[in-house]
């Protein structure tokens, strides 16, 4: 019952956020988006590079068992570009931005600075929360796109240098198997993940209790719920783009 009530309160919060969208502080949005992008770029690239390396080593081992290691490029495109890279990138961006957002807003709540803003007649939703939600929504697809490129590049490096696959064959097969639909699916998923990250982070920060405990708890709830809801949304979007679930 409590869970249902908080889902309702969360949806009301999101609807209120969308309503103040025209009055949102645009400058703040851009500033926040830039700092989010720069702060998350390195870790996204590192994580997707390792994901690419992981997938390549595993794919090579499995394909060798079936006697077709030359299909590695195709495997990387189908498994990596379609699902693994966008998912890992969005998950990592979401974990970093979501926990940072939740902690930041919860700290403001704990220090009663949100109340102070309201007393001064500054609506936190317009000037603090909505810019952050929008920035997270915009930045995630951008970074996830870079992450997918980085993952693909890392796969190529590992396949050719560590595993000794022919570079020409690898890239030809990899690029042949990427469909525009895969890119659209990846960007849509990243957009959905970004919106979830921003709204969940701001919501848990906004509704945090007081004390240092509450800050940790807000970050914890944000990342866990983000992953759980994100996994479900990912499955549904995969079904929408590729079909076959029902």
């Amino acid at each position: 019952m409590d869970a249902l009530a908080s889902v309702g309160a969360f949806s009301r919060f999101c609807v209120r956020g969308v309503r103040v969208l025209p009055r949102m502080d645009r400058r703040e949005t851009l500033d926040v988006a830039a700092s989010m992008a720069f702060g998350t770029l390195l870790v996204t690239l590192a994580v997707t590079a390792f994901a690419g390396a992981m997938l390549t080593v595993q794919g090579f081992a499995s394909l060798k068992a079936f006697g077709t290691p030359e299909l590695l490029g195709m495997f990387i495109s189908l498994a990596g570009v379609r699902e693994v890279f966008p998912l890992i990138a969005a998950g990592c961006i979401g974990a970093k931005l979501g926990s940072a957002l939740a902690a930041e807003v919860a700290t403001l709540r704990t220090g009663q600075q949100l109340d102070a803003l309201e007393v001064m007649g500054i609506e936190p939703l317009e000037h603090l929360l909505m810019p952050r939600m929008t920035a997270a929504t915009l930045v995630t697809p951008l970074l996830a796109g870079l992450g997918v490129l980085c993952g693909l590049g890392a796969s190529g490096v590992i396949a050719t240098l560590q595993l000794g696959v022919d570079p020409g064959a690898f890239w030809a097969r990899a690029l042949d198997s990427i469909h525009p639909r895969d890119i659209a699916a990846g960007l849509t998923k990243a957009l959905a993940f970004g919106a979830l990250t921003g709204s969940l982070g701001c919501w848990h920060g906004y509704t945090a209790g007081s004390g240092p405990w509450a800050v940790g708890r807000a970050a914890n709830l944000t990342v866990v719920q983000l992953m759980v809801v994100g996994a479900l949304v990912n499955l549904l979007l995969s079904h929408l783009f590729y079909g076959g679930l029902l």
Partner: protein, 264 residues
């Protein structure tokens, strides 16, 4: 131009912080091992219980759709090649090699990583850790070491759970939506997973659990400055844990499955 310079500066700073952080993390782990190679049994059991209780539901909720996803994508791939009998081996191998250890560790990183780092950080900013030291109770041995070992013990158990859920999710989609034969699918999964795969899964997830709890405790231990510091510690713990898991995943994959031309 300025944007590019900012981006480069951010990248450089990030790389430097990463290396410095990794070195400090190793020193921290060494000192934990020196102080608490054998942690007290009571706190250890308690931490194991807390960790598994916190993580069972999130692991279930995340891995079920993931299993369904590999089944969904794998089925369309495999049907286009006309080799339907390979779906079960594909799903089982993906689950036992990557999905189960990886996602179990990811969820422990999300759930326990934030909780453990926040817990230790709160103890730090409220000067409880200093109080322990004053009372001649070694906080590294009584607070940090149990959490570290609990991560190593619980992550393999959770990965077994994740393996079951992943196969269940995949089975539901394969049988319910794609019309594969239920019995043949489950038998295919059982035949594919060898004891060696299970051993590799256990090793991988134990390493992941150790790494992510080490990062979480490290960030909590060095937290500074009130609520803000706690927030920063949890944030850095999550990111560091994910990064650590993926790095070790690559290294362990190369050692356990790969033909590592680089290493030979």
């Amino acid at each position: 131009m300025e944007l590019a310079r900012d981006a480069l500066a951010a990248l450089g700073e990030g790389a430097r912080d990463l290396c410095a952080g990794a070195a400090r993390l190793m020193l921290f782990v060494v000192s934990v091992l020196r102080h608490g190679a054998l942690p007290p049994a009571g706190p250890l059991a308690e931490q194991c219980w807390v960790l598994s209780r916190q993580c069972v539901l999130p692991v279930t909720l995340v891995v079920l759709p993931m299993g369904a996803l590999i089944s969904l994508q794998g089925a369309s791939l495999i049907e286009s090649f006309g080799v339907e009998r390979l779906l079960a081996p594909l799903v089982a191998l993906t689950a036992v090699r990557e999905l189960a250890p990886g996602f179990a560790a990811m969820m422990v990183a999300m759930q326990a990583g934030t909780a453990v780092s926040a817990e230790v950080a709160v103890m730090r900013v409220r000067e409880e850790l200093d109080a322990y030291e004053l009372m001649a109770v070694d906080p590294l041995r009584h607070v940090v070491a149990p959490r570290l070992w609990a991560g190593m013990l619980v992550a393999p158990l959770l990965s077994v759970l994740a393996l079951l859920w992943a196969v269940m999710g995949a089975w539901a989609v394969a049988v319910g939506a794609r019309g594969f034969a239920s019995r043949a699918f489950l038998e295919g999964c059982l035949v594919t997973i060898t004891p060696w795969d299970l051993a590799a899964m256990t090793i991988k997830s134990a390493v992941f659990g150790l790494v992510l709890c080490a990062v979480a405790c490290f960030e909590g231990w060095y937290a500074r400055g009130g609520a803000l510091g706690v927030g920063r510690a949890t944030n850095r713990a999550v990111v560091g844990a994910i990064l650590g898991i993926l790095m070790f995943n690559y290294v362990l994959n190369s050692l356990l499955y790969g033909a590592p031309a680089v290493f030979t």
